[in-house]
Symmetry: C2
Subunit: 282 residues, 2 copies
């Protein structure tokens, strides 16, 4: 994921905006318009991408929020993918896919074929099935200079039920890091990255020590409770080895602002960028 | 999943046919036809559903194989869903979804809304995120009398890397069973079932003892190496608490047969049904 590190350096921001569209939460001018579901999704997402582009490095569409609207939602996702790439932003498809053999290859084809409808720069992957469930994604991503973010320690409260169980003195989530290292040796730049939640600051710091160079995708910032101060020590020596995601806090910033919706989202992205840049090198 | 148990009793079969369509493997009459990708997928899948309907209880479309063909593949999947339900078969969507909170709810909406494009009787779910990642699926499935199959012990070789790690003398996959029990208490009929591979017969038997009544989805039969004799003790006291999946062995049976493709698939499903029925009550 050298391209992502370069983009972070160039734009001086680690902000990733999660695209979790819920039409009922859209501003009235879109929600109440005569547009189709598909058009509403595209109009809103395009507005968000344009608003946050100066302050964000990546956009992370959460595919569930498109799937819930059926085929119309997925047609919108295809169009939004082009909008994200045209804006020069890194597209992380948050699909948490995970399967083996030919099935994993089929998923990898869906997300890492340049001519495909859902071409992405990076994909989130669930590694519960072991290295067989990661390898096909890794290979496909490497071929397109893309990336794969494997769930290591997630941001939700019940992540502890499985991920924190101790095996020979180590939590299961550190065993997941061993699976990553088994698929791809750590290097200056890697194809495999890790998902590690902002809501677990101590674990995040520990994971950075364990993986000095791998890219982290850090969810849980903002609405889920994670703050910039929780991210100290998460960005690696060059301060560029993580992207931090906020979804609702940026998408629906207009609800807590006197600004029009696009300006409210832009202001929220700027505020997040500055808060994070203040801790990136600490 | 009482409806599935009833259907197994009524049809006297535990066969589940995995729909993993790969156009390059289709019979020439479809592969070389002038049909679009979408039409080819529908024609082949419809032929399979009609062929195996007398001997199968469930069809399991693997969504990756549709996603790899982009929007056309997903349009085909919608149409195939109707075909499966019209044939009176139980539709297990193999999507291995797993996420939390509002995202899991969005996925649940995608697969458990009767008016949705991808309405399914049951869904496979990856529980690495803990109970937060299972609960929204459980609730949505319960509302439609559907089911959720949570990955417990998968059929692939590297499943041991994480799932077999020992925590306080127990493997991680048994800890996953505790998460299931935490979301839904075991009962005579449950909404939550378990995925447990045919390629691990000893673990399968152990898991049945641990979960006497829950429905099992057992992958790994046939092409992946699992045999009927590996399934002894997997079906519970009434012999109706598991469905066994074969994909390639049935879809592409014509390649190892002198019969036309549909007849070859029907014969393969019949053979599988009989082999499994011979061990269901052992």
């Amino acid at each position: 994921m050298k391209a992502l590190v370069d983009l972070i350096k160039q734009k001086d921001t680690c902000v990733c905006v999660g695209l979790d569209p819920v039409i009922d939460s859209f501003p009235d001018e879109i929600r109440c318009s005569a547009q189709s579901v598909e058009e509403k999704l595209v109009t809103f997402s395009q507005g968000i991408v344009e608003s946050v582009a100066p302050h964000a490095v990546a956009i992370k569409p959460q595919i569930a929020f498109f799937e819930q609207y059926g085929l119309g939602g997925l047609r919108a996702l295809k169009e939004i993918g082009s909008i994200i790439r045209d804006a020069g932003l890194f597209l992380v498809m948050d699909a948490k896919r995970g399967d083996i053999g030919s099935t994993a290859e089929a998923y990898a084809k869906a997300f890492f074929s340049r001519e495909g409808d859902f071409f992405s720069d990076a994909l989130t992957v669930n590694g519960y099935l072991g290295s067989d469930g990661i390898f096909p994604f890794y290979e496909a991503a490497r071929n397109t200079q893309g990336g794969v973010f494997v769930l290591v320690k997630t941001s939700n409260p019940s992540s502890s039920q499985l991920q924190d169980l101790r095996v020979e003195g180590q939590p299961v989530y550190e065993k997941m890091v061993e699976v990553l290292d088994y698929v791809e040796q750590p290097d200056e730049f890697n194809t495999l990255g890790a998902v590690a939640g902002a809501t677990h600051p101590a674990e995040l710091k520990k994971l950075r020590k364990r993986m000095p160079k791998r890219m982290f995708l850090i969810p849980g910032y903002g609405a889920q409770g994670g703050m910039a101060s929780d991210l100290q020590g998460a960005f690696g020596e060059d301060g560029c080895r993580a992207i931090v995601n906020s979804s609702r806090g940026i998408l629906y910033a207009y609800k807590k602002s006197h600004l029009p919706w696009k300006e409210a989202s832009r202001a929220a992205a700027l505020e997040m960028k500055e808060a994070i840049n203040a801790v990136r090198y600490k």
